[in-house]
Amino acid sequence: MKEKMLIFKKMRTLLICFSFILTIFNSLYAEDNQYKIEKIKIDFSNPWSSVFLPNGDILVNELSGKIKLIKADTKKIIEIKGVPKVLFKGQGGLSDIKLHPDYLINKRIYLSFSYGSKSNNTLRVISAELKDYELIDKKVIFEALPYRKTANHYGARLLFLEDNSLLITSGDGFNYRELAQELDNHYGKILRVKDDGAVPSDNPFLGIDNALPEIWSLGHRNQQGIARDSKNDIIYSHEHGPRGGDEINVILPGRNYGWPAITYGIDYNGSIISPFTKKDGMEQPIKYWVPSIAPSDMLFYEGQSFPELQGSLLITSLVPGDIRKIIIDKSSISEEIIFKEIKGRVRSIKASKEGDLIVLTDGPKGNAYIISK
């Protein structure tokens, strides 16, 4: 009897070891070993964005207001201190994170987040120095005006241009959609400021009566993706439509992208927002989705790790939840779902300088995946 038990125990141990090895291989190596997907072992609280540091460490923003650093070698997690207080309500919270183009010299990072109270808040952008896992010397460089009563549609993505100016996407605040067509406010706009928050002298609406000088383009809804093709100097942005009508646009200064006067979507309750999809003086998207895919982040892939992705847009979607490779040709746009091993609402995708990717999935127990060759 004792012997039988011993054999049983040994077999059980062997089985556990075998299934453990199998699980590791399954989770780390995708089909035909084309790439490696590594899941970071801890859960993140509503991870929203991330950025690779030059040494390979990764900073992950949690919507709830924390920044966590993933060490490149050990994958150990270190919480960054000195993070500003954010409004974590509705769709608001700690949002995007970007390194200054001269980060190696000045160690400055940029954060976007919702700030204020539930019934009186706004989108704010700050810069801060990252020193010894702490944010110091914090400076507010932008605040969207006027403040809002809703905690929705902040946009909140950041993109540095070649001249070190910063593009900020600012959503329409949900209840204020018509203001996206007016120049006297920051709702539904893409904004451009210098790295210290000053207004660049070549902004398109500078000097126009009643126009806020930071405005770069107007007529947007909730733009949660912005990326630049640096070779061809093209800026792409995508935005959530209402029910249908998610869009990818090529962003040019001074242009009007139409929301809510023209749209391919309808309201959540089924009613028409506008019966029009086109109008002179308003830009057409280069692609739109009906039904919605809820695009949540975007990058223009220029890295070396995945040559097959070079020159394409990588877009994450919340519904149904996937990563899409969009190839924009002169005459057509193709779309393909990639990295299918990653399931769930996909919130964000970022690339390292070399081209390795970090993908975040949404939710109070969101995950981070590092994809490399």
Binding site: K89, G90, Q91, K118, S119, R148, K149, T150, A151, N152, F174, N175, R177, E178, Q181, A261, I266, D267, Y268, N269, G270, S271, I272, I273, S274, P275, F276, K279
Partner: protein, 146 residues
């Protein structure tokens, strides 16, 4: 026998109110578009209205639930304070829709899921749609109760 008609009256008043809510919601959208130099022809208006009615099931269901609750509360209240049905159900319809609209914004962190309610005028007009539905309901009850 009379009580078999009550659900029918409820549905009639719901159809009236939700149709009016859809109409006013659309009208407010189109008025804004007109202010932005869009030409709203009769054909565009009719097509939009048809589209909104055909997609208006959400309005109907929400109004039906709202009226069901509001009218039950009113019936109980009338047991103690027997005021005229038309007045009582008009008030119930008005406040039913008003409270329902306000509650949706609380649930969705301030977001107004029925765009027409974002202005005070819009909120008032939509609540008046509820009032009219309530009035019709009270009127139908009055006519059928001997």
């Amino acid at each position: 026998m009379f009580y078999l008609y009550v659900p029918f009256f409820l549905i009639i008043s719901t159809i009236i109110s939700s149709s009016l809510i859809i109409f006013i919601n659309l009208l407010l959208n189109l008025i804004w578009l007109t202010s932005k130099d869009f030409n709203i022809s009769a054909q565009i208006f009719l097509n939009s209205l048809l589209s909104d009615f055909s997609n208006g099931i959400a309005f109907f269901v929400i109004t039906l639930i709202t009226f069901s609750i509001a009218f039950i509360v009113t019936a109980i209240t009338r047991y103690f304070f027997p005021i005229d049905r038309r007045v009582a159900y008009s008030i119930a319809g008005f406040f039913g829709i008003f409270v329902m609209l306000k509650l949706t914004t609380l649930v969705f962190t301030g977001a107004a899921l029925i765009a027409g309610m974002r202005s005070i005028l819009g909120l008032l007009l939509l609540s008046l749609c509820g009032m009219l539905g309530g009035y019709v309901y009270g009127l139908l009850l009055n006519r059928n109760i001997k």
